[in-house]
Assembly symmetry: C2
Homo-oligomer: 205 residues x 2
């Protein structure tokens, strides 16, 4: 865990509580943490889920490489240390959204189990739902899709430390949700997630 450097800070709750905000929105905040290989379908399912939730009147917000890597984490590269800090910050931001009772959809390869487990621990410590969604797709299939042409570059040695090629992907051992995107339709994937959220009382206040 990251060391607490700042002193002269103390925690207090505001007058409006997380429960108050849940009643206002008619939903409970939760982090859905999509993890999987590049090209496995993380963003695709996150976008489809966002749309389905919206149709039902629920507010979700996607955190992804686009709005994070160009924003708060633009001063991080791809060293092991920076990758860990990248995931830590995303986990902390997701927690803020959960506290606001927005459904946070985090969509990053996040290949290391230890990094994901740290984010889970951060949520557990604040009694916030953390739902690990393993977006599972065979490497061959992900490489065949190669939507951004990154596997090709990695195979050509133009990108180093690429997950699945010359850097490991550590699959979740006990994800809350396991999607086999090479065997399921997108609609089925979204159905599975919606069912999970309903069964856990997250789509009501």
């Amino acid at each position: 865990m990251t060391e607490q450097k700042a002193t002269n800070v103390h925690w207090h709750d505001g007058d409006i509580s997380r429960d108050d905000r849940a009643r206002l929105l008619g939903q409970k905040g939760a982090t859905l943490w999509f993890t999987g290989l590049s090209g496995s379908g993380k963003s695709t399912v996150a976008v489809a889920l966002e749309a389905r939730l919206f149709e039902r009147g629920h507010l979700s917000y996607r955190l992804d490489g686009d709005n994070i890597r160009f924003g708060i984490n633009k001063n991080l590269g791809f060293s092991a240390e920076d990758r860990t800090e990248n995931i830590r910050r995303i986990g902390e931001i997701a927690k803020l959204f959960v506290d606001a009772n927005v459904i946070a959809l985090s969509s990053f390869i996040s290949p290391y189990r230890a990094d994901r487990d740290q984010v889970r621990a951060l949520h557990d410590a604040s009694d916030m739902p953390f739902i690990e969604v393993f977006v599972d797709c065979a490497l061959e299939e992900a490489e065949k899709r190669d939507p951004k042409g990154l596997y090709k570059k990695a195979r050509a040695g133009e990108i180093k430390n690429f997950t699945g090629i010359d850097d490991p992907y550590e699959a979740p051992e006990k994800p809350e949700i396991h999607l086999r995107t090479d065997q399921m339709t997108l609609e089925q994937e979204v159905d599975v997630i919606i069912d999970y959220l309903e069964q856990h009382g997250l789509l009501g206040a």
Copy 2:
């Protein structure tokens, strides 16, 4: 501005737009950036505003020393460099909330004009409302209040680089909202802010 280190990232919009989310929530996202001396009343007015917005069915979320310094910025101290990075990260997080159409209430001393102006520029670049709220209170009054006993410690030399004592506070030159907390009631302060939000069409979709 911070250098972009990460490559292999590109920006795309999701299917659900910021406007869609605004219609869902019946409000537009905006950052209210409260700045002022320690003890000037930043958190007090932010908490009161949050409650007033809530009563009217609006979702806001407070970013403050408590949930930021204990969370995403726990690896930052109080050096000049760390203070700047602290404010930069908060600005980026506020932007994410604005994009989600939540009203972000940022409550930090944020003593340096350049840091605040950078956050303003980040918002401007994404066409997001940035409302600087100068929580103005005479140093003598703030020091008399001293709710956390910090001025006493700073005067005793137990805290170094304390804003207003041995570190400067650079007052906003053209804040969108100027609150004289030593001359206004809390209710008046909240009224002024609500009026501003209404006049700028932010409390409707």
